[in-house]
């Protein structure tokens, strides 16, 4: 048996173990799963950097497949992107500057209250809040994946704002 066949068998097994795809096609299922894995992995990396740089740890981390309206054709959501959100509370006076220095490899750019990052087709931003000094938000997300709305809600892996472990 070649390595490729072994890999394919392992992937198929993973899908079966994951509890089924509902109405989601295999290709879309794989895409959704990959996005979740990629976003989660990067979110954990960013969270680790933020924890060290800001001398704190993530709070209220949640994950979701968030609907993105295909506004040109319908108000109904037919595209979804996976995202992870988390908060940090720090005593650091200039948290975004400090994070920029540590995250140079992800092409950081500033907008008024946030630091934007990119990693392949994934994007992220750290945000500060003028009326709550010390609070720093993190959002990491993937690109929108087109999928039938009903298939998505039937899919076992569909999550909306559920806690996720970033440690």
């Amino acid at each position: 048996m070649t390595a490729r066949i072994l890999a394919a068998t392992a992937a198929a097994l993973t899908i079966m173990l994951a509890g089924g795809c509902g109405g989601v096609s295999d290709q879309t299922y794989t895409e959704l799963e990959h996005q979740r894995d990629d976003v989660l992995a990067w979110a954990r990396e960013l969270s680790a950097v933020a924890s060290t740089t800001l001398a704190t740890s993530p709070e209220d981390a949640t994950e979701a497949y968030d609907g993105v309206a295909q506004k040109g054709t319908s108000d109904k959501y037919k595209s979804y992107k996976y995202d992870v959100q988390a908060d940090f509370v720090t005593e650091h006076q200039e948290p975004l500057d400090a994070l920029r220095d540590e995250l140079g490899e992800f092409s950081p750019t500033f907008s008024s209250n946030s630091l934007r990052l990119s990693h392949g087709d994934l994007t992220a931003h750290f945000q500060t809040y003028p009326k709550t000094p010390g609070a720093v938000g993190l959002v990491v997300e993937g690109p929108a994946i087109e999928i039938d709305q009903e298939d998505m809600s039937d899919w076992d892996g569909f999550v909306v704002g559920e806690p996720v472990d970033l440690q």
Binding site: D75, S112, S114, H125
Partner: protein
């Protein structure tokens, strides 16, 4: 002269306290929803269940005999669980308050302990200078009296916590077994019954508000749990109470219908479940969003929840923020192809608007989306999008706006916003019914309705009718201008789902183009940096996007910051050629609306 220095005592430790009032509130909400299921069960046993289909005397009598204790027990369970749930909800409110006071106590204690230690250091050794000694004495007395105040606050806090704990434990202990439940509650009249009977029928929202205010707290709580569909959707009842009722109805639908295997659901059950899920996702989306200035997580208020309205299209309205207290309130009305399943994208619009309003300086805002009329959608869209549905929708919208005004006794600022066909609906509400809105915003409007010849006809003063139309928004070009209607341009040349809808609007003749100079409204800048080069549908759906001119200007209007609204040149229609839009030559900008 003798000076006695009494050093202040070390303040007592603030006790550990990690209760979470919000979580307790969630527990109470879940139990109240379950009490509502028992309530429905009692109604079933006392109603539909009686009609067994058994005609045989003995068997029918035996069946009927069995029903009575079941119904009685179900009603008792409903009352007992509701009472426990309400006690837990009250305890949750207490804990939220106690958490705040605990934070204050902990901070006071830390500061006082620091001050006491500093005074002890100043007193060792004692200063020899008399003036310094007097100052030390005064400082010690002041600190001691502050510590005494802290100690009495701490005692009061501890007592209040114990009182609240005692109250909730007593309520729970009284309903731990079925025997207790039947002993205490069987045969007891539901306070909701008398309250329901006294409800004014066929009267306006002001009469409803007066009735609601006249009920006891117990009656209001009972009605919310027993009749969530009525309380949740009756204009004049305060938004927080409506939301509590609609939360019960929504959570009950999710729980009950989710428990029925999908292949066993009837069509109606499936429709109800789909609509409930859509509302749930919209609610989650709001509650996962944050204010870009304060970092506070948003709270959703479910103002309307009626999943089987309009033949299953459903009605839902949800607000970001508190409709009962916000200084600035907006109501966003969507357009064609909207039904309850569009709740999520509409939630995104009002989240964006709230965030932009906050970013632009608004500190007390509620932004609500309103899917409250039968907009042409789904199969309907195959028909003609005539003005009739907008006129009927306008009447319903006016009822909602009247309801908001009736439930508030203060002078708040209300903005009605309509997008696309929804702008025609808003215009009809304003022109035909004159509800008390302060400002009107028409976005991507295909026409302000046949009843409005000019902005003045909308009844808020032409300076308070604002129009946002992207120069390449195809729908924004469909309204009548001058003596030639460009409507026909849209008809017949578009394909695809929304193209067909545009063609219908084009053919419908939805009134005057409000962006034209003759109409006399205030047009604000609403171009997009990704604007197309020819009229198109993509530019019709960007008005609520972050970092757009339109969202920034809408935020200013919602905040009442009229001087900050950036005006745009109006469309004019010379006799010798077609309509001219000066905005098409301007380079669009991208103002920051959320700090991201």
């Amino acid at each position: 002269m003798t000076i006695n220095i009494s050093l202040p005592p070390t303040p007592s430790e603030t006790p550990e306290f990690d209760a979470d009032g919000e979580k307790v509130h969630q527990a109470g909400t879940a139990l109240r929803t379950s009490s509502s299921i028992f309530d429905d069960h009692g109604s079933f046993v006392g109603g539909q269940a009686k009609d067994s289909g058994l005609l045989d005397g003995e068997a029918a009598a035996a069946y009927a005999r069995a029903l009575s204790p079941i119904g009685r027990h179900a009603d008792a369970c409903s009352l007992a669980l509701r009472a426990a749930a309400n006690a837990i909800l009250g305890h949750g409110d207490d804990l939220v308050e106690l958490e705040k006071r605990h934070r204050q106590l902990a901070s006071d204690r830390e500061q006082l302990a620091r001050e006491a230690a500093a005074l002890a250091a100043r007193a060792n050794p004692l200063p020899t200078d008399e003036a310094e000694l007097q100052l030390l004495e005064a400082d010690c007395e002041r600190c001691t009296s502050q510590i005494e105040a802290y100690e009495s606050d701490l005692v009061r806090w501890t007592e209040d916590l114990r009182t609240s704990e005692d109250k909730v434990t007593a309520a729970l202990r009284g309903a731990m077994t079925e025997q207790q439940v039947d002993q205490t509650y069987a045969g007891v009249a539901d306070p909701a019954d008398a309250a329901r009977d006294s409800m004014p029928s066929g009267k306006g929202p002001k009469a409803v508000k007066a009735w609601w205010d006249g009920l006891t707290e117990e009656q209001r709580a009972a009605l919310i749990a027993a009749d969530p569909e009525i309380v949740g959707n009756t204009d004049g009842i305060p938004a927080a109470d409506r939301s509590a009722a609609n939360t019960i109805a929504l959570d009950r639908d999710l729980a009950e219908l989710g428990a029925i295997p999908e292949d066993q659901r009837t069509d109606d059950e499936q429709t109800r479940y789909d609509n409930a899920q859509a509302a749930d996702v919209a609610r989650d989306k709001i509650e996962r969003s944050k204010d870009p200035m304060t970092h506070e997580r948003y709270e959703a208020q479910v103002y309307i929840y009626d999943p089987m309205a309009f033949g299953g299209d459903g009605r839902v309205a949800m607000a970001v923020g508190d409709l009962d207290t916000a200084r600035n309130v907006s109501v966003s009305v969507p357009g064609l192809t909207t039904d309850m399943e569009s709740a999520q994208s509409n939630a995104e619009n009002v989240i964006n608007l709230h965030q932009a309003a906050s970013f632009e300086g608004g500190t007390s805002t509620a932004t609500m989306f309103w899917i409250g009329y039968d907009a042409p959608s789904g199969a309907d869209s195959a028909g003609v999008a005539t003005e009739g549905m907008a006129a009927a929708g306008g009447e319903r919208l006016a009822d909602t706006l009247d309801g908001l005004n009736a439930m508030r006794s203060d002078d708040f600022h209300l903005t009605a916003i309509g997008h696309s066909y929804g702008s025609t609906t808003v215009a009809h509400a304003m022109t035909d019914h004159h509800p008390g809105a302060d400002d009107v915003v028409l976005l991507g409007s295909p026409g302000a309705g046949d009843d409005a010849d000019s902005a003045d006809d909308l009844g808020v003063g032409s300076g308070h009718v604002f129009v946002g139309t992207n120069s390449e928004d195809l729908v924004g070009r469909l309204g009548q201008t001058g003596w030639v209607s460009p409507a026909a341009i849209g008809a017949g040349v578009l394909t695809g789902p929304l193209g067909g809808v545009v063609a219908q609007m084009a053919g419908a003749g939805l009134g005057h183009n409000p962006a034209e100079d003759d109409f006399g409204a205030v047009r604000f800048q609403a171009e997009s940096t990704s604007r197309g080069s020819i009229p198109n549908i993509d530019d019709h759906v960007k008005y609520y996007d972050h970092d757009t001119e339109s969202l920034a200007n809408m935020a200013h209007i919602v905040n009442g910051q009229y001087d900050d609204v950036v005006r745009a040149g109006q469309v004019h229609d010379p006799w010798y050629r077609g309509p001219v839009d000066p905005e098409s030559d301007r380079t669009p900008t991208s103002p920051d609306t959320d700090g991201r």
